[in-house]
Symmetry: C2
Subunit: 194 residues, 2 copies
DNA sequence: TCTCAAGTGAGAGTAACTCCTACATTCGAG
DNA sequence: CTCGAATGTAGGAGTTACTCTCACTTGAGA
């Protein structure tokens, strides 16, 4: 393996900072934990903290599974319908996570939800997801990239998941039901929607 | 009219602060304008600034038209289909705005889009919109409030608008097209979407 | 082992807030 | 009209996230 001592040390420091930070957040709360305290717990100087993370916010928001999810989605064969591809990649990524990883991820989501400052910062991520999905949709549907209807559809997918989840975090069942309903064209017992 | 001198003064101060702030933001940029400078331009002390607005962010984000839009939507008769009700309330609110108001609102949107910190803070607003719409949907469709499918649909509506808008801000045409596409059940030229 | 690049610590500085206190202004009751 | 109570404001001190700079150390490679 090509990682020298220097690189390994950096990785370890980064992991330590994050672990200590999340521990402190859980113990005393996000707002009540200062960067100085995190630095002390991780045995580094405050200035070093900011060399590893651009902000206290980002330390929480950096999502290890997001790039994995993206890759899983892009690896789905092109002849699989979009929603199926999406479902399969979610199932695969969550399926491959260990129980501890799942716990940690849940706790992280809960933290994000409970701190307005963190919650707010997720819009950008959402927008990126829509863009990405829109490309996948356009490619599968024979539309040019950037196509308005593909984007509207991608937005609808992400939006319906968001709406369905509401307060519950990360329920694959609810996501599944929402996607079923969307794929069926929102069948509201014969009542017009338009 | 029941407003005493005190109340009128407060309203005027608030308006002055916001006007001066937006002017400075336009001239020098959001990040380059300090609260102290805004306070000076509005002829108040920095501490007074924070009595009028909880943060520099919120000064920009407070949306005068949001409550108007909400009211317009809720005033639509119950027998009008949801998407039509939504369209009509948007048309009405935008139609009643003066050209200057429209200009100012556009500029505000542009500012929000261009500053990551501001852009991020809109997620909460989005979520509120979804909740509200979901109630309207449930009521019209004879579903109980909080119904999963109503929420999924409401999310899809908001999401598709978001996806369709992309970089362009506030194009009623694009919104209209996205809603048409959604109402028709995403007709992608006979290709399966599920 | 020597040298250079990369990483770290420490300190000073800025800006958004928060909290407190003393002073000014408006309001309502008599 | 006047006085006391409520309400609002200015000013200052303090906290915290973050930035920049500079001197020092440590690991990488010849």
């Amino acid at each position: 393996m090509g990682l020298g001592l220097r690189e390994r040390k950096k990785l370890r420091t980064r992991a330590t900072i994050r672990a200590q930070a999340l521990r402190l957040f859980a113990e005393k709360g996000y707002g009540e934990t200062t960067v100085e305290q995190i630095a002390e717990a991780a045995d580094i100087s405050p200035s070093t903290f900011f060399r590893y993370f651009p902000s206290k916010e980002q330390l929480v928001l950096v999502d290890d599974y997001d790039p994995i999810m993206i890759r899983a989605f892009q690896e789905q064969p092109a002849d699989v319908p979009v929603l199926t591809a999406l479902r399969r990649s979610m199932e695969r990524v969550f399926g491959e996570m260990s129980p501890e990883q799942l716990d940690r991820e849940m706790a992280r989501q809960k933290l994000i939800r409970s701190v307005p400052e963190l919650r707010a910062a997720q819009l950008d991520e959402l927008q990126r997801t829509i863009e990405l999905l829109a490309e996948g949709v356009a490619a599968r549907m024979g539309r040019p990239p950037g196509d308005l209807e593909s984007r509207a559809f991608a937005g609808a997918v992400v939006g319906s998941i968001m709406g369905a989840l509401g307060d519950d975090l990360l329920s694959l069942d609810r996501i599944g039901l929402a996607l079923d309903f969307l794929a069926a064209g929102f069948p509201f017992d014969d009542r017009e929607v338009g």
